[in-house]
């Protein structure tokens, strides 16, 4: 299993029947492919849709039914649409149960940086700041390292997305939570040891006596 699939499958296990969920672009989008059978998730697209469905069959795309990247999607039965003020009221008002977002850095206190690299990449924050500030649970999906450097850092060097700490970060090596505001190793990926995770992580991790292996 490749790293992205492993991360997406593990995060899909966080989703429970009836939840309103917002997925960011990149690895988070893959999470919708692994929703456990028998449960119904309301996926929100922040451009104004609850009930986002898969990419439509060839020839059935509707130019005014799109995801947040402007690509055609379908809508499942029971879907609904709304304007941007309501879309962000849902997000900021605590009505979104879980948001899954990509990350550039997550620090030892659970702070997330994921919207710009000064001087290099300035795409704008889009909905990321509202999502991290307002969603009930914030889960970050990202590779553990980039160019050999840990993305789970002592302190974010990039501009923060929110002052609010995230709840969980899932990488191809580990699941890390932030109980009491401290990065804590909750699970390791299959075939990965606690020592492997600690060695690959810049932030100091709280390591409980027993760390289970991820169930996928």
């Amino acid at each position: 299993m490749d790293a992205q699939t492993l991360i997406a499958k593990r995060i899909a296990r966080e989703l429970k029947d009836g939840m309103l969920v917002n997925l960011g672009i990149g690895i988070p989008t893959l999470v919708s492919n692994f929703v456990p059978p028998g449960i119904h998730i309301f996926f929100q697209s922040e451009n104004g849709l609850i009930g986002t469905g898969p990419i439509p069959q060839e020839g059935l795309a509707q130019a005014r039914l799109t995801d947040a990247g402007g690509r055609p999607v379908s809508a499942i039965p029971g879907a609904c649409t709304f304007d941007s003020a309501m879309s962000f009221g849902l997000i900021r008002g605590g009505h979104v149960d879980v948001t899954v977002l990509g990350g550039l850095e997550v620090d030892a206190n659970g702070h997330l940086a994921n919207w710009m690299i000064p001087g290099k990449m300035v795409p704008g924050m889009g909905g990321a700041m509202d999502l991290v500030t307002g969603a009930r649970r914030v889960v970050v999906a990202m590779q553990h390292s980039a160019k050999g450097r840990s993305k789970v850092v002592r302190r974010c060097s990039l501009p923060l997305t929110s002052a609010r700490a995230i709840d969980l970060v899932v990488t191809e090596l580990a699941v890390i939570g932030f109980p009491g505001g401290r990065a804590t190793l909750l699970e390791t990926a299959p075939g990965v040891s606690v020592a492997d995770v600690v060695a690959a992580t810049e932030a100091d991790l709280v390591v409980p006596a027993s760390v289970p292996t991820m169930t996928l």
């Binding site: 697209s45 922040e46 451009n47 104004g48 849709l49 509707q62 130019a63 005014r64 039914l65 799109t66 947040a68 990247g69 402007g70 809508a75 649409t81 709304f82 304007d83 941007s84 003020a85 962000f88 009221g89 997000i91 900021r92 990449m121 300035v122 795409p123 704008g124 924050m125 889009g126 909905g127 990321a128 700041m129 509202d130 500030t133 307002g134 501009p159 923060l160 997305t161 929110s162 002052a163």
Partner: protein, 215 residues
């Protein structure tokens, strides 16, 4: 509401005007009005919108044509030309969190002196803004955002100017219809009064100044 040709509608927009434009990655953007702005070669416009779409699509056409002085948006990441012009100093870009942007527009249209939002507290977004504590939680005071014109794409407009939108093309449109001093609408279909049920009207007719006719 009065009807107008697209050329006459755009002729009402002076150089240097501020425009709110509906659309999310070009979906829900009044493309005919955008094309006419480019054709008439306006200068120094400010655009307030969610994003700048892609080169060749919606607001992306205005960026490429060089008719803009400033963009206030939440995301420009999918239009490399916007980023290039920003970094070259040819285009001023103010980035605003999406939920804050739409609430600033809503505040203007709804007669509010601003909104208090937790979004941006503790980030670079709070720089230069007043913080207000309410019941122990910190918020940023975000001020209302008005524009000279709101350029709207509707799905249905009736003869009076009542509007509906469809699916994800609604996005910023009904909100900017409240905040633009002059509201210009391009509708996919114009229908008789009564075809849109009162409960389904999303923008009430008195908000609409000009409806662009199909030639």
């Amino acid at each position: 509401m009065r009807t107008t040709s697209v050329a006459d509608a755009v002729a009402k927009i002076p150089d240097g005007a501020s425009l709110m434009i509906g659309g999310f990655m070009g979906v829900g953007t009044p493309e005919r009005i955008v094309d006419e702005i480019v054709r008439q070669g306006k200068h120094g416009l400010t655009v307030i919108a969610n994003d700048t779409a892609l080169p060749g699509v919606g607001i992306g056409k205005l960026v490429s044509a060089g008719v803009l002085k400033k963009v206030i948006a939440s995301h420009i990441g999918l239009n490399p030309e916007t980023q290039k012009k920003m970094l070259a100093g040819e285009l001023e870009v103010e980035l605003v969190p999406q939920g804050t942007l739409i609430e600033r527009i809503r505040a203007a249209g709804y007669g509010l002196g601003g909104v208090l939002t937790p979004t941006g507290v503790g980030t670079v977004v709070e720089e230069g803004k007043r913080k207000v504590e309410v019941d122990g939680r910190e918020y940023l005071l975000e001020k209302p955002l008005f524009a000279d014109f709101a350029l709207i794409e509707a799905f249905l407009a009736d003869y009076l100017g009542n509007l509906t939108y469809v699916l994800t093309a609604r996005n910023f449109n009904p909100v900017i219809a409240m905040a633009g001093a002059t509201v210009i609408v391009d509708a996919e279909h114009v229908v008789p009064i009564g075809m849109i049920s009162p409960d389904h009207v999303m923008t009430p007719a008195p908000l609409v100044d000009w409806l662009v006719v199909r030639s």
